[in-house]
C-alpha cells in the first residue's frame, strides 16, 4: 500500500510537507520508519530519533499502521 507520511521541521526541510512510502499491508510503525530510511535517504540521520504518529497520537513500535489513518513522522520536539 502507498502510505502518505506528514513531515515537520528538519524532516520537512529535507523532503517537503509529506512523502509517500510503499509499504506492505500490516506493516508496523517501526517497520515503516525503516522503510522511510531506505526510500528517503535524506531523512536517514534524523530517523533514529523520530517517533511515528498514527491518527494524531504517538504509536507504539509494534502498532500496525492502518490503511486510511493520518500518519506523521515526529522528529524530537522542541516546543516551549
Amino acid at each position: 500500500m502507498i502510505t502518505r507520511v506528514l513531515l515537520f521541521a528538519a524532516a520537512r526541510d529535507a523532503c517537503g510537507d509529506w512523502i509517500e512510502v510503499d509499504a506492505p499491508e500490516g506493516v508496523t510503525a517501526r517497520e515503516l520508519v525503516a522503510l522511510l530510511a531506505e526510500q528517503f535517504p535524506a531523512l536517514e540521520p534524523l530517523l533514529p530519533h523520530c517517533r511515528l504518529a498514527i491518527g494524531e497520537a504517538y504509536a507504539a513500535d509494534h502498532a500496525t499502521v492502518p490503511p486510511h489513518s493520518e500518519i506523521a513522522l515526529i522528529p524530537p520536539v522542541s516546543g516551549g
Binding site: 521541521a9 528538519a10 531523512l43 522528529p75 524530537p76 522542541s78
Partner: protein, 146 residues
Amino acid sequence: MIRVSPDPIDLAELHKQAADPSTGAVVVFVGVTRGETGGRLTTRLAYEAYESMAARELESLKHQAAQRWPLTACRLVHRVGDVPVGEASVAVLAASAHRNEAFEAARWLIDTLKESVPIWKQEHYADGSKEWQHPAPVETLERGSP
C-alpha cells in the same frame, strides 16, 4: 483553555479567573524568546506545530494533570509562527486551592509539554543562519539541509 495559535499570547486573558471560589493559588509559567542562546545572538524563534495533534496532546496533558492534582483551572497556550525576542511562545496556568499543588502542576505541565507536544522551534540567528532545535544529535541532517 487549550490553544495553538499564531496570535500573540494575551496574559491578561490567560489570568482571567474561572468563577471558582475554591481557587487560592495560581501559578503561571511563560516561556519567552531569548535574545541569546549559548553565546549566539537570536533575532526570533519560528515555531512549527503539527497543530491538530498538538492540541490533542495539550488536552491530554490537561487531563493527566487534573488526575494528579486537585486543580481548579488548567490552561495551556502555545504560539506558532514567528516569536520575536521578548515575546511569549508558551504559557501554562495551573490553579488550585493551595500553592504546592499549583507549583507542582505548572512545573510538570511545562516539563511534559516540552517532551511530548509536537511543536518545533527554529532559531533564527543574527548572522542570518537558522537551525531547527531537535534535542537529539541531528547535526548531520541539519548540515545537509538547505
